[in-house]
């Protein structure tokens, strides 16, 4: 019997978008995006080890507008994946499966990831400008 001829359960497009499903998809997307972020981390570390001129080149790129935009994207993806990952770890312990709880924790993840991104950039710019 060919498995591909069997009836399939309805797929994504027939369902109304909900917070829970959107966060689930975003968790995957940010995970894949952060894997690309590891390429940038590798580039930065290898450049630093390669010598001064390579490091200067990497720093020039990272402090350019494109570099800042990438870092902003990676920092939000990191905080989202971190917060939602902690939510997943609670689920692994069997906690927080009630519908209401899943929505409350979902909104908490949205707020916390945005808040942490804002906070880390505010502190980062403060430190970077030598204000501290």
């Amino acid at each position: 019997m060919d498995p591909s001829n069997r009836p399939l359960s309805p797929h994504l497009q027939v369902y109304r978008p909900q917070l829970t499903s959107m966060l689930s998809i975003l968790h995957r997307l940010t995970g894949v995006f952060l894997t690309a972020g590891l390429l940038l981390l590798s580039y930065w570390l290898v450049s630093a080890a390669a010598g001064q001129s390579w490091y200067d080149c990497a720093q020039w790129f990272l402090t350019s507008w494109l570099g800042y935009a990438l870092l902003l994207g990676f920092s939000y993806a990191l905080f989202f994946h971190l917060c939602n990952g902690i939510r997943h770890l609670f689920w692994d312990l069997g906690l927080g499966f009630e519908l209401r709880c899943a929505y409350v924790s979902g909104w908490l993840v949205v707020l916390a990831s945005l808040g942490l991104t804002g906070l880390s950039w505010a502190l980062g710019l403060l430190f970077g400008l030598g204000v501290w």
Partner: protein, 126 residues
């Protein structure tokens, strides 16, 4: 050609002997990455504008060097496990599937090694 269903064919053969290893390693690395990423982001506040000499000075400390290598190991392992599942779920062509799995697995191994060598080179002498 057999008319047996796939379920019938595997019935009684036992498990694939891998059990929950993938699931478990994904959770362990996730747990490790929670404090490590918070520490790394906090370090970036200092490192972002740091000169190469300051970076070398920072990595020469045993704690930051150890945590940095742990972050690299756990980060790349976690990324490999996650990407593996994404490819399993969405790439159905056998050739592409195998090609991407090989690329992700070897890519993570090569980059993680390059990162660790770089960290050690900086930490042990610039």
């Amino acid at each position: 050609m057999s008319i047996k269903t796939p379920a019938k064919r595997v019935h009684g053969l036992g498990s694939a002997k891998e059990g929950v290893h993938h699931w478990w390693m994904q959770r362990l690395t996730a747990l490790l990455l929670v404090p490590l990423t918070i520490w790394f982001v906090a370090s970036l506040w200092y490192l972002f504008r740091a000169s190469r000499a300051e970076l070398i000075d920072w990595l020469s400390g045993p704690i930051s060097c150890t945590l940095m290598i742990l972050l690299i190991l756990a980060g790349f392992y976690h990324a490999k496990l996650g990407m593996q599942v994404v490819i399993e779920d969405y790439v159905h062509s056998r050739l592409w599937h195998t090609w991407l799995q090989v690329k992700v697995t070897l890519g993570c191994a090569v980059l993680a090694t390059a990162c660790i060598v770089s960290v050690l080179k900086l930490a042990l002498g610039g």
